[in-house]
Amino acid sequence: MNYMSIKLQNVNYIYGIGTGQEKHALKNINLEINDGEFIGLAGHTGSGKSTLVQLLNGLIRASGGTIYYNGQNIYDKLYNMRDLRSRVGLVFQYPEHQLFETTVINDVQFGPKNLGLPQLEVELRSFKALKMTGIGDDLLDVSPFTLSGGQKRRVAIAGILAMQPEVLVLDEPVAGLDPAGRDEILGLLKKLHDDNNITIILVSHSMDDIAKYVDRMLVMNNGEIVLDGKPAEVFQFEKELEQTGLGVPQAVKVIHQLREAGASIKGKPVTAEESASAIYNWLKYS
């Protein structure tokens, strides 16, 4: 497989053209996503995150601008959109709302079946995906509607994983889950990224959720990407982040407040553990 990348050039998106209630949801987005990156896309509600991710697999068409996947313009007449959709797997917000089959295993097989794979391959991929998401064998033949919220969500994610996309995009995958369910899913994504080197784009409006996992962070505000960089760098802009209604993770906030009070803490800690050891070092050596 050659080098994968997604490139957006001057992409705009306007909802409701010609209805009198137009909404400029994306404004001149320029962005490049490289192979194997683990990206966090943050922004408050209505900033355009969901719109942006739907553009990436061609579900909606940009009102202006171009998108390149592996160097090919996806708006080219000859470009195969269905192929793109199998390469860029998109897990929608509340994906459990799209379950429809009689059993869990049948539902997961829907995606790979649509790819036209042989039955054996379909089953193999589905079992693998369910195993990855931690759905036990005892649940394979039950109706997905009888599962708990967290289990349903994992089945739905398995449905996309079974298609083995090159890029996995997840729109608020942990919204409405309890802390345990949240950590489980985020940990699963981390493992998926580390083991299979698959590109992951994780959408969230919570900084705490993504700070720990991602290598690169994009912050959106009002349809624009306002910050782009490593989490530690992005969190230096606490004022700006607060203005966009996001703020920084609690662990980063504590460090910033201690510094303001005169503590000379070194480094750019992001997670609670990193912050704790930074504070420990400061207390010990100062």
């Binding site: 010609g18 009198g20 269905r82 929608f92 709302h97 799209q98 429809f100 995606g111 649509n114 298609m163």
Partner: protein
């Protein structure tokens, strides 16, 4: 994808028509529709069209929104036009080919009938474009209140109507979302024969029904939690009250209907 549906679509604007009491608009639309059947000659059509154009101008709704309402009925329009054209007998035969006879009377009837249908549709669209669904149900509840006396549950019917109207855009949005989610899983809604296409709808309909049931359940609970108990003794936050401009609007409608009837008696064509 599904956003072309125009039922109950509201066009927000600041205009004299938007500000009218919704009851006036419902009654006026009713009068307008009746008026369409009060004349037979060309002059009536001209008056009805001019009157309508004035109202559109007053409402500040762009004309293309009004005509958009015709799109869904275009098939019906063609069908009735064809029926009128072929089945009207008359003396002035224009074309005669086999069993098909087209007469001048048929052409005239076709044109007039089609015009009537178009006026009827765009007349009612003007009402829904300038009145929010909530105002509309308020108006209907208020206008049909007398039926309470004969044990028709007017409030409950109006409530059901407003809930249904409220849910149309939500369900349309939901359908759109589910469709996209299944497309992302490689679903194909466009190719194959009729049976395959119907089958391909299953992954849309099941989640849609599940979600509609869930929403209905939530709504019922929320209404219960707020002690909703039907129409009896219930007061309105914004009770409908006629103002001077509403009376004026009724007078305008009265003048219009008189004019149409008079034109029908006096004018030769």
């Amino acid at each position: 994808m599904l956003r072309d549906i125009t039922i109950g679509q509201y066009y927000p604007a600041e205009s004299a028509i938007h500000r009218l009491d919704p009851r006036v608009k419902v009654v006026a639309t009713f009068i307008y529709i009746i008026s369409l059947f009060c004349f037979k000659q060309l002059s009536g059509y001209i008056i009805a069209a001019l009157f309508f154009l004035c109202m559109v101008k007053l409402s500040r709704v762009p004309f293309k929104f009004i005509t958009r309402g015709i799109k869904p009925i275009i098939f019906m329009l063609i069908f009735t036009a064809a029926l009128n054209l072929l089945w009207t007998s008359g003396e002035n035969v224009l074309i005669k080919a086999g069993f098909i006879t087209i007469t001048a009377e048929g052409v005239k009837k076709m044109v007039f009938m089609a015009l009537r249908l178009v006026f009827l549709i765009i007349g009612s669209s003007l009402m829904t474009l300038t009145t929010t669904p909530n105002q509309l149900t308020d108006a209907i509840e208020s206008l049909f209140k007398p039926l309470n006396k004969v044990k028709v549950p007017v409030h409950e019917i109006a409530m059901m109507m407003s809930i249904a109207l409220r849910f149309i855009p939500i369900l349309v949005e939901e359908t759109d979302k589910i469709m996209k989610a299944q497309l992302a899983r490689g679903a194909d809604f466009e190719s194959g024969n009729v049976i395959q296409r119907i089958k391909s709808m299953v992954p849309i309909f099941i989640p849609l029904f599940v979600s509609a049931a869930r929403r209905a359940n939530d709504l019922a609970l929320a209404m219960d939690a707020r002690c909703y108990h039907g129409g009896e003794g219930r007061t309105k936050m914004k009770p409908l009250k006629y103002k001077k401009k509403d009376i004026a609007a009724y007078l305008v409608m009265l003048c219009y209907i008189c004019l149409i009837i008079a034109a029908g008696r006096i004018l030769p064509v």
